[in-house]
C-alpha cells in the first residue's frame, strides 16, 4: 500500500517592514525605569519587526485604543500574510487558486469574518476553498492547527492545504509602564508563516518531511499562567505571563515527548532535529535541561528569538525554515516539533524526512 502521509512541502515567512532594536524601542517609548531598561537589555533578543503607532510632537508614541489595535491587526494581516503565502506557494509553482483548504491561526486580534475570509477576498482564493480559523490558542497553536491540517490532507489526497500562522503581536500591546506589560512588550514580534501540506503520491520522491504523529499535553493547574484578559483601567486586552512558566513547562516537557516517541518506537537519541518554539530564553533553557537538548539542538530556536522575538504561533515555522536553509538535514532523519503556550500547553509532532 502506498504510504500517503502528509508532507510539509513548502514554507514562506514575512514580517512587517519596520525592524526595531530593543534600544530603539526604549527611546521611542521614552522608557527610563531601570528595571524595564534592564529587561530590554538582556542579549537574547536583538531586533523585532513591529507596527508601532506614529510619534506625537513630543516624540512619544500616540496612545492606541483597543479599536486602533484591532485595526492594526487587520492591516498587518492584509499587508504581511499575502507575502508569506506567496513565498510559500511560488517555489511549488502554485497560486492561491490551487489551495483547497485554508487554516489561519491568530491570537493577536479578533476578526469576524475571520482571517481566512479576509485573505480569500484580498488574494483571490477559490470560492469553494474550505477553511477554518483557529483563534486565541496562543503560541502553541501552530501545532494545534497542523494536526487537523494534516488530517484533512490525509483524508483528501492530492489536495493542497495551506496553514497560515498570522501574528501581529504589536496589536496586542499595552504600554502602561508596569513590569507586567513590559515583559510582554520586550518579547513578542510580528510575523507570518505559511506552510503547504499535502498527501500526494506525486510527492513520493520529494525530500519534504512526512508528518507521522502528534502528542498534546495540557497542565490545567497552570491555566492562569499565560492569559490574555481584559484590563478595565486601560480599556484593552492585556497579555499576562507568569514568572513560573518556564518551570511549569520544563517540568512537563518530557511527558508528551516520551509518549510521542514511545508510540513510534523511538528514543531521543534517534531525533536528529528539534524544532522548538522560541518562547523566551528561560523557557528554552527549561526545555534544554528537562529533555536533555544541547545548545546546538536549539540553535534555530535561539536565532529566531534573537532576530524576531517571540512570533507566537509561527515561531516554530521560522526555525523550521532556518533548519531547511542550513542544508544539513538528510533523508531518513527524524524531527520533533514542539510548541508551548497558554493552558498551559505543550504540543509536539513527529516528522521524518
Amino acid at each position: 500500500m502506498l504510504d500517503l502521509r502528509p508532507r510539509m512541502l513548502s514554507i514562506g515567512t514575512a514580517n512587517p517592514p519596520d525592524r526595531w532594536s530593543q534600544a530603539d524601542l526604549l527611546n521611542r517609548f521614552q522608557v527610563s525605569d531601570p528595571k524595564i531598561v534592564s529587561l530590554f537589555s538582556s542579549s537574547h533578543i536583538l531586533s523585532r519587526h513591529l507596527y508601532l503607532p506614529p510619534g506625537k510632537h513630543d516624540g512619544g508614541p500616540e496612545e492606541e485604543t483597543q479599536g486602533d489595535l484591532l485595526r492594526k491587526h487587520r492591516r498587518g494581516t492584509i499587508e504581511v500574510a499575502p507575502q508569506a503565502i506567496d513565498r510559500c506557494l511560488a517555489p511549488m509553482g502554485l497560486a492561491v487558486r490551487d489551495i483547497d483548504y485554508l487554516c489561519c491561526i491568530t491570537s493577536t486580534g479578533w476578526l469576524t469574518p475571520g482571517v481566512t475570509a479576509i485573505l480569500m477576498k484580498h488574494m483571490g482564493f477559490r470560492e469553494d476553498c474550505s477553511r477554518v480559523d483557529i483563534v486565541g490558542m496562543g503560541c502553541n497553536a501552530g501545532l494545534n492547527g497542523l494536526n487537523p491540517v494534516a488530517s484533512w490532507a490525509m483524508a483528501n489526497p492530492g489536495k493542497n492545504a495551506l496553514m497560515v500562522c498570522n501574528e501581529i503581536c504589536s496589536a496586542a500591546y499595552v504600554f502602561d509602564g508596569s513590569m507586567r506589560t513590559a515583559i510582554v512588550n520586550s518579547l513578542f514580534g510580528d510575523g507570518v508563516a505559511a506552510l503547504l501540506v499535502r498527501a500526494d503520491e506525486r510527492d513520493e520522491r520529494s525530500f519534504a518531511p512526512k508528518i507521522l504523529g502528534f502528542d498534546s499535553h495540557i497542565i490545567t493547574p497552570a491555566i492562569d499562567a499565560m492569559r490574555f484578559d481584559w484590563d478595565e483601567e486601560q480599556g484593552k486586552y492585556s497579555f499576562f505571563l507568569d514568572r513560573d512558566i518556564p518551570y511549569v513547562v520544563g517540568a512537563n516537557a518530557e511527558k508528551p515527548v516520551n509518549r510521542l516517541l514511545n508510540r513510534h518506537g523511538l528514543k531521543r537519541r534517534h531525533i536528529g532535529h528539534w524544532i522548538v518554539h522560541s518562547g523566551g530564553k528561560k523557557v528554552v533553557d527549561a526545555i534544554k535541561y528537562n529533555i536533555g537538548l544541547t545548545d546546538h539542538a536549539v540553535r534555530h530556536t535561539h536565532s529566531v528569538l534573537r532576530d524576531f522575538g517571540n512570533l507566537s504561533s509561527g515561531s516554530f515555522l521560522f526555525s523550521f525554515k532556518r533548519l531547511l536553509e542550513e542544508g544539513k538535514v538528510r533523508r531518513g532523519d527524524y524531527g520533533v516539533l514542539m510548541t508551548m503556550g497558554p493552558g498551559s500547553t505543550i504540543e509536539t509532532a513527529l516528522i521524518r524526512w
Binding site: 518556564p246 518551570y247 520544563g250 528514543k267 533553557d285 527549561a286 535541561y289
Partner: protein
Amino acid sequence: MYETLGYEERGDIAFVTIKRTRINVRQIRELERVCDHLDDVSQAKVVVFRGHSEGIDFLDFDPKEAMDIHGFNKWEKLVNRIETLEKVTVALVDGPSVGGGFQILLACDQRICVPGATFQLPEVRQGFLPGMACYRLAKYVGLGHAKRIVMTGATIGADEALRLGLVDAVTPDLDAALKKTIDCFGPMHTVAFTLARRLLNESFSTGFEDGIGNFLAAQHRAISQTAFLDTLRAEHKKK
C-alpha cells in the same frame, strides 16, 4: 556478542573491557551497541571502561581513497554518548592510553591507572588532530599543559598524570581503587548527577548570564525529583 570488547555486568556495575587495542570501525560500532544496551536495557548504575588502547587503526584508512570526515564525526558522537551516559563512568587504565583511548578517558567521570600507565596524543605529529581532546583536555589540565601534550605529542607517565589532574588515582590494585571510588559516589540520583555533570562540562564555555539561566532550569528539574523530596523528608524526621 562483541568481538573487540568484553562486556559483563556484576551487580550494579557494567564492565566494558577493551580487547582490541587499535580502534577500528568495528570497535566503534560495538561501543555504540554497548551504549544502546546501557541506555535501553541495563540497570547498572556504574560503567567501567577497562584496559588500554593504542589509538586509531590506520589500516582502516586507504591512502588511495579520498579522505572524508564522516567517520570522525561518528567517533565524536560516540565519545559524547559515553560522556552523557546516565551512569557513573569510570576508566581503569592498565597500560598505554593513546589517541582515541585517551579521548575516552576524558569523557569519563573518574580515571584510575596503574603506575606503568602512559598517556599520549600523537595525532598532531602524525598530521591530524586528536578529536575533541583539543576541547576537553585543557579543562582538566589548563591550556599550557594541554598545548604541550597536544602539540608535542609528549608521553605522560602515571605520576605526572596524577599531578596534572588527568587521573584521580594511581594504584597497582585497580579493583580496590574502583570499589573505593564507587563508594565515594554514594547514592546515585541519576537526574541530579547527570545535570551536575552537564553544568560542569559546560562551565568553561558558558558566560555567567547564560550559566545562571542554565543552572536555574537544571535546579528546578532536580528539586522536582523524588530524590530531593526524600532528602527533605528524612531531614524533617530527624527533628
